[in-house]
């Protein structure tokens, strides 16, 4: 249990590590954000390179990211006691090192504890607080969760206060359990339309540290009131609000359902972002337990749009667009936005969809994993992964297939 903040002290303003990168280097940010260990590799001679070059340093050919062996050996290790950069100065001492990667290049890396020259290390491609890809080397298999440098790169729920926005989502209950198990200090779970029965209310009540509070994302007042109460006490916000209603454009209820989906999924996110966003971005460096992550639990159908889910897909596409704006706002405080793209979930609304579907616990575990690794995008479910692969490979073919109901 972390100590309470001294209310007489000024909240530390968020500073960020150096964020300037080449345009090409953002390929690494995408890989790091998705948890892929990939390095720039020459498309002609096959040599790996580091840092991200514009062309192959050996033969001047094009480079592209390729999966690489995530291991190396420490050449030298240094502890910066008084760094010149203001971000690192506040967090000193800070360990850095030079590593000989097994795949060839040498790299300056952030270094885990107890790593000495000659040690074998595992390499991690991670996003730092500026949202840029960096290499982090640590002894293989070492538990890094207590390491303050690793802590800066991730969004560990331990000792943090979490808001889950919609208790009615299939993942909400297992998510509350998983967060408490991961050491979250408190978990507030919003209940939309609190005047309706919540079947899992008794089960929520049995989880220590979990509190249910009314929260309707379709209401400015409801969202603002909750922010007035706890906006300054949320370090991880997980938006689970959803309105899945199957139906194409011609469905009898299409207009009403699409409107409500937009209100919940897209405008609901905007309402949250307007009040919780600035509050969290302002607390991005508020001690060890400062605000650290915002999770939007979205649908893969926001990227791949089946006609039978027209309104639902449109709402999630809108939410993805809002999410990019929110990510930019949160980034000013070093708070990361994790987008979760789920396939159809195991609930009444996707009842007729073919298996495999995503269970609440699988979704909850994926969210906690994404936080622990400090990711920006997590895809959950075989169908979701398959759809995104097909979208990247041949988007027009996927459009045609979805039009024919071929998921």
């Amino acid at each position: 249990m972390r100590a309470r903040k001294n209310p007489l002290l000024r909240t530390r303003r968020p500073l960020l590590p150096p964020g300037a990168r080449s345009r090409a280097a953002h390929l690494l940010a995408a890989a790091a954000g998705q948890g892929r260990f990939e390095l720039p590799c020459c498309t002609a001679c096959g040599r790996f390179a580091w840092p991200m070059p514009e062309l192959c340093p050996a033969c001047l050919s094009e480079v592209a990211l390729q999966p690489a062996p995530a291991a190396g050996r420490v050449i030298s290790a240094t502890t910066a006691e008084v760094p010149a950069d203001a971000y690192f100065r506040e967090r000193a001492p800070w360990r850095v090192g030079l590593v000989q990667m097994d795949c060839g290049p040498q790299a300056v890396v952030h270094l885990g504890p107890d790593c000495a020259p000659g040690d074998k290390v595992a390499l991690n491609l991670m996003l730092d607080r500026a949202g840029q890809a960096v290499l982090f080397a640590a002894k293989k298999g070492q538990d890094m969760t207590a390491d303050p440098q690793w802590h800066e790169m991730t969004a560990n729920p331990r000792d943090r206060r979490v808001l889950i926005t919609d208790a009615r989502h299939v993942a909400a209950l297992p998510l509350a359990r998983a967060l408490v198990k991961a050491g979250a200090q408190t978990v507030v779970v919003g209940v939309p339309e609190d005047w309706k029965p919540l079947p899992a209310r008794a089960e929520f009540a049995t989880i220590p540290g979990v509190t249910l509070l009314p929260l309707d994302l379709v209401s400015d007042r409801s969202v603002e009131d909750l922010a007035r109460d706890i906006g300054g006490k949320v370090e991880i916000l997980i938006n689970t609000a959803d309105w899945p209603r199957p139906g194409g454009l011609g469905a009898p209820t299409a207009a009403a359902d699409a409107r409500q989906a937009m209100e919940v999924v897209a405008f609901g996110l905007m309402r949250l972002a307007r009040v919780f966003g600035p509050a969290m971005a302002g607390r991005g460096a508020d001690g060890d337990g400062g605000a650290v992550a915002w999770v939007n639990v979205g649908s893969v159908f926001g990227r791949a749009h089946p006609p039978v889910l027209a309104g639902y897909a449109a709402a999630h596409a809108a939410a993805l667009a809002f999410g990019q704006a929110l990510r930019a706002d949160l980034a000013q405080g070093g708070v990361r936005l994790l987008t979760v793209l789920s396939g159809p979930t195991e609930d009444d609304w996707f009842q007729t969809f073919v298996q495999p579907k995503v269970g609440g616990k699988a979704l909850a575990d994926a969210i906690v994993m994404g936080l622990m690794k400090g990711l920006e995008e997590v895809v959950v479910g075989d169908l979701a992964r398959d759809l995104l692969d097909r979208l990247a490979e041949n988007p027009k073919a996927l459009e045609r297939e979805l039009a024919q109901g071929r998921f």
Partner: protein, 258 residues
């Protein structure tokens, strides 16, 4: 002369104005349908500006809601039985129907004891023995005390649907066909009982009222401030083009008991 007498009575307090309207809020329960049916939009109040950068000297909101939210009026066209009624929508409603006498049937004790209490014809006849015949063209208001409940207790939803008091089918048939009432009003979300969908006919208040071109009022409050008879109701829905109903302000004129 009559109106001068009325305004004088209002000024002296000999006639009081009682507000029978719930405040229109975003979290007030609305009717719940099986979710495969299209839902009503809830009440939403979104600020445009409040003396701020969005409008430095003025305060105003965007307001949206379904026609059947908050304290609201049901027009005949709301139900299939009233679809062919002339002047059956709120924009064509005869304005003289918007001011009418009201009688109050006190079912508060029975409703406190039984969430599913049903108002019967027998109970109405007992009321008539005490207060006289229910006048044709009057509102009949069912007082249950339900408006004192809040949130989940007000909606009172269970696995088999809502459990709220209301009229039984024979009571509604009798009120409409034998007494010629203008409309029926309740403190609950609907004019029908929570379990009214399983009555014969289903939703008898909607069925009989609207089938005869009569009206419904629901989500009323302060009915305990009204006498059993002698009040006059002002119930004027918004003039929505082809509207099936609307939220409205319901006022009662009541002779001062003291």
């Amino acid at each position: 002369m009559i109106l001068e007498t009325l305004t004088s009575a209002l000024a002296t307090g000999a006639v009081r104005v009682v507000d029978l309207t719930q405040t229109l809020t975003e979290d007030f329960p609305t009717i719940v349908l099986p979710p495969e049916f299209a839902p009503s939009a809830p009440v939403r109040i979104e600020r445009i500006s409040r003396y701020d950068a969005a409008g430095p000297a003025w305060y105003w909101n965007n307001l949206s809601f379904g026609e059947h939210t908050g304290t609201h009026f049901d027009a005949p066209a709301h139900w299939f039985t009233g679809r062919d009624m002339p002047r059956g929508t709120v924009d064509t409603l005869p304005p003289e129907h918007m001011i009418a006498p009201a009688v109050v049937i006190d079912c508060s004790a029975e409703s406190a004891a039984d969430d599913d209490h049903l108002l019967t014809r027998a109970a109405l006849e007992v009321w008539e023995t005490a207060h006289g015949r229910i006048p044709a063209g009057a509102w009949v208001l069912m007082r249950t005390g339900w408006s004192l409940r809040k949130g989940a207790a007000y909606a009172n939803l269970r696995a088999d649907g809502a459990h709220t008091p209301g009229p039984d089918a024979e009571a509604m048939r009798w009120l409409v066909q034998d007494r010629g009432i203008l409309g029926f009003g309740t403190e609950t979300i609907g004019t029908d009982a929570g379990q009214g969908g399983d009555f014969q006919p289903p939703y008898p208040a909607h069925h009989y009222l609207h089938g005869a071109g009569r009206y419904g009022l629901q989500c009323l409050t302060n009915l305990h401030l009204l006498p059993a008879k002698g009040a006059v109701l002002f119930a004027a829905p918004l003039k929505v083009h082809e509207g099936s109903g609307s939220p409205l302000r319901v006022l009662a004129l009541v002779p001062d008991a003291s």
